[in-house]
Amino acid sequence: METGTATVKRGLAQMLKGGVIMDVVTPEQAVVAQEAGAVAVMALERIPADIRAAGGVARMSNLELIGRIMDAVTIPVMAKVRIGHVAEAQVLQQIGIDYIDESEVLTPADDRYHVDKEAFTTPFVCGARDLGEALRRIAEGAAMIRSKGEAGSGNIVEAVRHIRAISDAIAELRVAPKEELVVRARDLGAPLELVRQVAHEGRLPVVLFCAGGVSTPADAALMMQLGAEGIFVGSGIFKSKNPAAFARAIVDATTHFRDPKVVVEACRSLGAAEAMPGIDVRTLDETQLMATRGT
């Protein structure tokens, strides 16, 4: 019997495809998410919009809170560690979390290096803004990638930019002549072996979700049409005026993203409930941007 193999680590992400992973800060919210059809929850002390508002240093969440959320639901539970904080990751593995998110939403612990994720039995998901970043994280052992977007902004533009950057770069590799791949690997800052694999298969070797800015059912359907295999929703649900309705509507729109009729029904099911307030990302200065943390 072998645990912690690439197959089982990547395999759990494969079983989450087509689904929505929701940020929750209480066991009650976790139940709301599960009832709405979430495939997993991300256990947090504060959702990204509140982390953004609070400022200061954001760290791994309280273990007692994470434990109560794990007890409250039967779906997988994920939690975040700071970029490069190997000890926080060891702690989460020890308490039996199902997936670790080495996340730019928290304040980075290491400004040069990420965690060696191959050393863990627990699988990791990491954010990426482009193909090179995605392949560097996979080389470190990430078993799932999410496009970063700009967390807590309620603005989909960065998520679109990042998923397009990844998809476009994959499309270019697919048609690139073999002799170009060494130079392209150098330019991407990614291992040649992974670049060759992506060129051959036309997709990342792990599941690709989208994150950072999804706040309506139509946002979710957009990201799925752009090639995301599933959706992370952070602030978009529990910062809306009707979390249960938003959660269910975003799940429906993600499942049936090809069918505008279902997306219409999902939008209508919200009635007059408002989505979370949004931020024009161009008004944020460098110190307020999360996506640029960890490259």
């Binding site: 072998e2 495809k17 199902d98």
Partner: protein, 201 residues
Amino acid sequence: MRVGVLALQGGVDEHLDALARAGGQAVPVRTPVELEGVAALVIPGGESTTVMKLLARIGLIEPIVARVAAGMPLWGTCMGAIVAARDVAGLAQPTLGVLDVTVRRNAFGRQNESAEVPIDIPALGIERFPAVFIRAPWIERTGPGVEVLARRGERIVMVRQGNVLATAFHPELSADTRIHRFFVDATEASRAVPGKRSDAA
């Protein structure tokens, strides 16, 4: 002879690929109309609470149950086994109830206990199948007419009851297509039996 893969959520593409590699013609099934066009159905791995809700919302529960009653081959892997089962131990979770077993969810543990384990399936003549278990269930009770096909240690991880097959593991995640080939063959055989209704709801 088209084999459908329920494509609401989960490891759909992996089954479509594996069925194709096993010589089958596989198509995704998302609606009652698409279900009418297939001779058999695979319910993949995924999250069972999520998929039961999605099945109910799209009106697929009754059509699937009726087709299975009429003889359509059904194969559930991991979540699919949970969805097919009569009931779920310790949880009041809705299921299709087309397989007379009780399953226990996440019975082998959380993700850190997910593992690759070789298992033997004597009734199918398969030795050392590289079974991938991910937050896997086991089968705790089997009703009359349910045949145990494989165990991991003491625990039941593969069963068959008439036209319904269930595995607690994920054959679609390994390169080995022997179980997929068995299901494709069983689908063809079910259509070849004279007088057996398997194409009408």
